[in-house]
């Protein structure tokens, strides 16, 4: 193959980039240029939106004028629908970048007698393509013809002729089709379109819907055959390739303070690596959110931006509560250095959360991101799905060099719960906060379970949360082992007493 007789390199299939986030990665460059692509799925899967976005983005981003042929919605309805995705069809039409053709097929007013062909449609489409110089086209959905015309023999022959003709015109076509029983489309459109087939689906799990996209077939091109979650937001379609991010991010050796001298002390006195991922896990009331607030506080004090995803507290509640340990976050919010995004985890599905978070991060461009807590996501999907989501989130943050701190609620004190095991490999620094129950009181203890690439303390340290913040209490290690709270004080008093009497004698 290397010694090919022809001097030219083998031409790979030319592709038309879709401009849709993620889809170009999945299709490795876009849809086959000058050929038809079938998008199939059940009603409400987002077929029309995907096709519309392909055509509109072609006109806006790639200087390829597009024709939208709708057999179901009038131009007015389409314009209204696309406006919700942030595109102004009227403006694009006025600038001759786009044209909308509404082809109405009304069965009840058509009588058939004798032989015919679909030259009327051909002439109409040809005229629209030529007067616009259209390079892209959406046919939504040509199946309507099957409802309007009864002579299937003629119709099928004409459809075959239509797609041959469109190929000869060099138009990149997306056609939508309703999914049928055991076939991609009810009317077998895949018979005419053999170049590229994309299948859309909506899956329900725990009452939350997740849209998925799969490239079933792509003739002449390698593609990723996996199923990818995708979203339809106010910015259009976002496909999330699970594997598009890797482990290629840069590793900074800069250290940033955790905001708490006590935590820094545990980490060799310098704090976290910039761009690392920190997990703070512990039982309820062990001070996880406080640790998060410390980091936010120190980042904002350095003039860096911080994004705080709060899934349990409202921004006001968070700010009020943090004042009790001597941290006032309100001025930073006012200055625009701190943004608190508070939502309930159960509000949407995992993928929506991920996309919303990534969009927010991309927009705000923070240096520090806090997710408080990640535990609630576990209720939204299987362990695999949660892990996949967390991986993508962590990869994304790392690739942008963002320091991330996540908190995780530990119901047992064992710090080995399933969700943590799932994400532990993603974590660079893992701090465990525990409640130690001794002599009728619960005392807070903190330790560093792991911290990649830095020397760290191996001690479990008692700490106090008060108006002066997080304070480590000097360790007591005596013959009785690790003591905390009043037991430590009692032991210290006893020790002091013995040592003073010892001195006195």
């Amino acid at each position: 193959m290397a010694k090919a007789p022809k001097p030219r390199r083998i031409q790979t299939l030319s592709k038309a980039p879709t401009g849709i986030a993620g889809l170009d990665a999945v299709t490795q460059g876009g849809l086959p240029r000058g050929r038809p692509t079938l998008v199939s799925g059940r009603a409400g899967c987002g077929k029309t939106v995907l096709g519309l976005e392909f055509v509109v983005r072609g006109a806006v981003e790639f200087e390829e004028p597009g024709l939208i042929v709708s057999f179901e919605e009038s131009a007015e309805e389409l314009t209204a629908n696309v406006r919700s995705l942030g595109f102004d069809l009227d403006d694009l039409c006025a600038r001759k970048k786009l044209a909308v053709e509404f082809v109405s097929v009304e069965r009840h007013e058509i009588e058939e007698t004798g032989d015919y062909n679909l030259d009327g449609l051909f002439v109409r489409l040809g005229h629209a393509i030529d007067s616009l110089g259209a390079k892209r086209m959406l046919l939504d959905t040509i199946e309507a013809l099957f409802a309007g015309l009864t002579n299937l023999g003629i119709l099928r022959a004409e459809l075959r002729r239509l797609f041959r003709w469109l190929k000869s015109k060099g138009v990149t076509v997306v056609l939508t089709g309703e999914q049928g029983e055991g076939a991609f489309t009810r009317q077998g459109l895949e018979e005419y379109v053999s170049d590229c087939v994309i299948s859309l689906d909506v899956k329900l799990a725990h009452h939350v819907a997740t849209r998925t996209l799969r490239v079933v077939k792509y003739r002449g091109s390698s593609h990723s055959p996996d199923e990818y979650p995708f979203l339809i937001t106010d910015r259009g379609v976002t496909v999330m390739p699970i594997t598009s991010l890797g482990l290629a991010h840069e590793a900074s050796s800069e250290r940033i303070s955790s905001g708490s001298a006590a935590v820094d002390e545990l980490l060799g006195g310098k704090g976290f690596f910039r761009g690392s991922t920190v997990l703070v896990s512990g039982a309820a009331g062990t001070g996880k959110t406080s640790a998060a607030a410390y980091l936010a506080n120190s980042a904002c004090k350095r003039g860096e931006k911080c994004m705080y995803f709060a899934f349990e507290e409202s921004p006001q509640q968070l700010i009020r509560n943090m004042r009790s340990i001597g941290i006032d976050l309100a001025p930073f919010v006012k200055k625009g250095l701190l943004r608190v995004e508070a939502t309930r985890p159960s509000l949407f599905g995992l993928e929506s959360h991920l996309a919303a978070s990534l969009n927010a991060v991309n927009e705000f461009d923070p240096a520090v991101v806090i997710v408080d807590p990640i535990t609630d996501f576990v209720s939204l999907g299987s362990t695999y799905e949660v892990r996949s989501m967390m991986t993508r989130l962590v990869d994304h943050l790392k690739s942008r060099g963002i320091t991330a701190l996540m908190t995780s609620l530990d119901s047992t004190n064992a710090s080995k719960s399933e969700e943590e095991v799932g994400v532990s490999s993603l974590i660079d620094t893992w701090i465990v906060a525990e409640l130690v129950e001794v002599a009728g009181e619960r005392n807070r203890a903190i330790s560093v379970l792991k911290s990649r690439g830095m020397p760290h303390s191996n001690q479990i340290r008692e700490f106090l949360l008060g108006p002066r913040g997080l304070e480590l209490v000097p360790v007591y290690r005596g013959p009785g082992g690790f003591l905390s709270g009043s037991a430590r004080r009692a032991q210290q008093t006893a020790d002091d007493a013995t040592s003073s009497t010892g001195n006195g004698s």
Partner: protein
């Protein structure tokens, strides 16, 4: 809703108009694409049917979409030949070469036997 359109081509237009107030007037438009044998057949069939059933109360206008492609939009023409009954309302469409006379008459809402036509 439809924009003002250009005047259709009248190259093959056939006018037969006889004043008859008691009968409905049929305004018909036949869309074709080029002078194919099918379009010629459709026009022949249509003329024949009109002459035998609608004498003096019809007008046929022929639109060639290859000459005026922009006219396909207005009447939502998919297939050719398509016969559009513009008058009397409602608008009706018959597609095909009009070779089946009975079906054309049904499509046009023309009663083949005027004697039986009461109500």
């Amino acid at each position: 809703m439809t924009p003002p359109r250009a005047r259709p081509s009248r190259r093959h237009a056939t006018k037969k108009r006889v004043a008859s107030e008691d009968k409905e007037f049929f305004q018909l438009r036949l869309y074709v694409a080029g002078r194919t044998s099918r379009s010629q057949a459709a026009l022949q069939n249509l003329k024949m049917i009109c002459e035998s059933h609608l004498q003096g109360q019809y007008r046929i206008e022929v639109v060639d979409l290859l000459v005026n492609p922009q006219l396909a939009k207005g009447d939502q023409i998919l297939a050719v030949p398509t016969l559009v009954r513009l008058l009397p309302p409602p608008v009706k469409k018959i597609i095909g070469d009009l070779s089946h006379i009975e079906r054309v008459l049904v499509g046009l809402d023309v009663r083949p036997l005027p004697r039986g036509a009461v109500s």
